[in-house]
């Protein structure tokens, strides 16, 4: 059975690397980066593609760094509408 598909976007420059999101994530999606941001903090990155969009990470984040997305059927239609690209594209898809 397919899991709920979620994703997050991290505003790495605002992240202070406190790791509270890592601790709050039930999926183990997040890890600390090996790089520092401009403020000198080791920011957070997504290391697994298993996010369910539960928003736990965003809820506990003291710096309002994380935006959480979850796939909905309504959103699928939206995607269909906005993609109107022509031309050659080489992309990688999973099989």
């Amino acid at each position: 059975m397919a899991k709920v598909k979620g994703d997050i976007v991290i505003d790495i420059e605002k992240c202070k690397g406190c790791e509270l999101c890592i601790a709050a994530c039930p999926q183990g999606t997040l890890e600390k980066s090996k790089h520092v941001n401009q403020k000198g903090y080791l920011y957070i990155v997504k290391v697994e593609d298993n996010c369910t969009g539960c928003a736990n990470c965003a809820l506990v984040c003291p710096d309002a760094v994380i935006t959480v997305y979850r796939q909905t059927s309504k959103a699928k239609q939206q995607v269909a509408k906005i993609s109107n690209v022509t031309g050659d594209l080489t992309v990688t898809v999973k099989e």
Binding site: K5, G6, D7, V9, E13, K14, K16, G17, C18, E19, L20, I22, A23, A24, K39, Y41, G53, C54, A55, N56, A58, L59, V60, C61, P62, D63, A64, V65, I66, T67, V68, Y69, R70, Q71, T72, K74, A75, K76, Q78, V79, A80, I82, S83, N84, V85, T86, D88, L89, T90, V91, T92, V93, K94, E95
Partner: protein
């Protein structure tokens, strides 16, 4: 994995769905945009102040009360809250936030007024103002950040510091014989007829964050109905002065603070 050459839109659409769901319609959580400035906060990494600020901003936006709210932030780590919350705000002298909030509310009764106070502020130097504001049942929301320590001044003992807890002014641990037991202000104000809704919350876990948000929402609703003082204690952390990592501090909070300051409602409208 295989590489495919795709020329038609049909395939491309599928690819987008597969690759990114990060589009506006899919947002389930994003930082408040109108009530919170898009600026980094000065708080230490992992400090609960940031979460509570964000929740305040979320509620203010969702309730559409951006132009009706006036906040008061007294001296303490959160004195610069007005740099983060995009609403009308007043700084206050150490301990005097609830008096300042009283002054505002009394001349602008139709506005929604809240104070945002630390434990040193609310439970030590401002004890008198806190109790009398609650006793008069001023129609305001008091948010009380209890991190068991003086954050801004570098980790001195607060009235809420736990027994045996070390601070820079209780270097051998708080001795309750000479320094008194930690003051449970929330229990105290719950006894006063002027308070309408008194609750103790935390923001160290997602479920608690959700409950805290509800508590703020309710408090503003009650204030709109002129019900009296709403008082929310937030048992919070101070990783810097507790000398722990944020994750450790939340664990410590759960193991040590919560047994002394149990979470939950102390006074609700239906008397439960």
């Amino acid at each position: 994995m295989s590489e495919k050459k795709m020329l038609d839109d049909q395939h491309y659409e599928e690819m987008i769905q597969e690759e990114s769901i990060c589009i506006n319609d899919n947002i389930v959580y994003e930082a408040p945009k109108s009530a919170l400035y898009d600026t980094p906060m000065h708080y230490c990494p992992g400090c609960g102040h940031g979460v509570v600020h964000r929740l305040l901003a979320e509620v203010i936006e969702e309730m559409g009360i951006l132009n009706d709210v006036i906040g008061v932030a007294p001296v303490g780590c959160s004195v610069l809250a007005y740099n983060y919350l995009n609403i009308d705000m007043s700084e206050a002298a150490h301990g005097r936030a609830s008096a300042v909030a009283t002054g505002i509310k009394r001349v602008l009764p139709e506005k929604l007024v809240f104070s945002y106070q630390g434990d040193g502020d609310l439970a030590a130097i401002g004890t008198g103002e806190t109790i009398h504001t609650c006793n008069r049942g001023e129609n305001i929301l008091i948010i009380f950040i209890n991190n068991g320590i003086y954050g801004m001044t570098g980790g001195q003992m607060a009235p809420t510091t736990l027994p045996d807890m070390k601070s820079t002014t209780s270097p051998f641990g708080r001795d309750v014989i000479t320094m008194g037991a930690p003051l449970k202000m929330t229990d105290l104000v719950a006894q006063l007829p002027g308070t309408y809704y008194v609750t103790r919350q935390s923001v160290h876990k997602p479920t608690n964050v959700r409950k805290m948000k509800k508590a703020i929402q309710k408090s503003f609703e009650y204030q709109k109905q002129n019900k009296g003082t709403c008082f929310i204690e937030v048992v919070s952390n101070c990783p810097s002065n507790w000398k722990m990592t944020p994750v450790e501090s939340n664990k410590w909070l759960e193991d040590n603070m919560l047994p002394y300051y149990p979470l939950g409602d102390l006074k609700t409208p239906d008397g439960k």
